[in-house]
Amino acid sequence: MTPDLAEKAGELEKPLVRAAPRGLDDSPGYRVFRVVNTALLLGVVAVTLYPFLNIVAQSFSDEQAIRTGRVNLLPQGFDLKTYRFVMADPAFWNGYLNTVVYTVVATAIAMALTTVYAYVLSKRRLKGRGLLIGIAVFTMFFNGGLIPNYVLISSLGMKNTLWAVVLPNAISVFNLLVMKSFFENLPSELEEAAVVDGLSAYGVLLRIVLPLSKAVLATMVLFYAVANWNAWFGAFLYFDRADLFPVTVYLRNMIAGASGADAVGAGGSADVAQVSANIKAVTMVLTVLPVLVVYPFVQRFFVSGVMLGAVKQ
């Protein structure tokens, strides 16, 4: 790595937010403000975390305790039988497996398309570049809408196939712009040298640019993977068969069934039976678990990924 790039990589590791300017003005009023401010922020933290803790507590509690409103932060009547019950359900595991497959395939396709297009857009000398950017950006402000999309997917014969959930959102324009701005900031001398040494545009992308872009690639993989892990509507819309449902649709049918909402929709969500609250809680915990486990480790990347696009030098 050239010193230049080492510096660039180092930038990503730097704290993203500068400490507030240290004042000479530590007036009594400002000290009071700081105490109030800290208290308010702790309040924000508590309110943000409470729903998670509540669901986790419910997942370990027995049904009766939830029904009588005794579960808040701590499990009542701690036991693991609901976990055993949910994990013994083949439909749950089937949904989980589907989610994994959709996430992996969709993320791979999305990464390939987004990377090559971002690379093309990052070449300032390219004729027609403004048009290529415009084509992508316009779709942020105007879109075909639900019905034409549904008709399109149906007539392409993609209903009840993997393609219906992995293709329609293959490029997120936001991710595209983040990558483009990252590529633009790579030193162009390296690429020029590679071209002089006889590498083609494909070679430059694969051998020079991608190895230097691991930080942004990791961020994008994470963005796409989380989005696909969390997605439900496409599957809900385009899948009629319960064995194709990702775990999010499985969960939504469970919640909708128990809330008494009309179980409309493409899915054969006929299970309008009351699902007990602790089973719902367990399913929610298990569904969100991978995201929660990964989150503390990748949070820094997520944030720097967004900032990469947000702040310009």
């Binding site: 937010v17 003005d25 998670f52 403004g130 950017i133 105007f142 034409p148 293959a170």
Partner: protein, 332 residues
Amino acid sequence: MTAAPETALVAETVAEARPRRGKWPGRRPAGRRETWRRALRRDWQLYSLAVLPLLFFLVFRYLPMLGNVIAFRRFVPGGSVFGEAWVGLRYVEMFVKDPNFWSVFGNTVVLGALTLLFCFPLPIVLALMLNEVRSRYFKRFVQTVAYLPHFLSIVIVAGMVMQLVSVEGTVNQVTRLFGADAVPFIQAPDWFRTIYVSSEVWQTVGWGTILYLAALTTVDEQLYEAARIDGASRWRQTWHITLPGVRPTMVTLLILNTGTFMAVGFEKILLLQNPLTYPTGDVVSTYLYRVGLVSNNFSYAAAIGLFEALVGLVLILSANAISRRAVGTSLW
């Protein structure tokens, strides 16, 4: 997904895509404009990389836009994507005369306005509060927690909301504590807006601070020093230096939020609503979902959807124009 942190990037890229003719300084000296033939011969490999992504945009983004012609043609399931016969403005007339449509339109405007009212300013406030924190660890801790809800599936959020507001849920325990009767919130039309907006705030406010925090780091330190020497208090420093410093970010975000005004959280509303809460909780997008996909009235629903998208486009164009005149910041 909420569109919060797209701002600065979008603003800059939109500006970049603008044709650089006339008064815009071109990159190449005039008279030596490159011909397409030369560009293609030199960069054909780059253009070839763009083919698949362009195909994606064409098929999954632009084709559906054209597909909106079924709003003016009768669509027969199994028939052509573009419908079978012209019916003119029949479906447009239909929704103009549809009392349900106007009721859901009103709900959309109210929910959109409430969302804008709360979800736009709160991240600024939170970012300013975070900016005053001196302990780096405490700040990082608050940030880590605040960003978390952004990474949850809407399905999980809806599930959590329903548990919290259920008759025996935490919210009702608190109301009972104050001697009030338990409220079946999820069936109560009067409470739908409150529930929706507060869950939206819960989910988006932390993530929304990222951009403001980024913008805050670019404010010139010397300005604060100068202000301190002039004897400005913290409040005056915030008011006269910090806020003007993040104004471009605020304006860009406001324009983008205005553009998504009509498309209020479709997925979340669909998950949270039920027939009992339709009087306040049914919005244009959920109504067209039911009309189109549940009742199979594709052409009618497409007409509603087209109307919704056009209103959104007009909103963003006018917000942009107004902000360019008023504060000199705009997307393009």
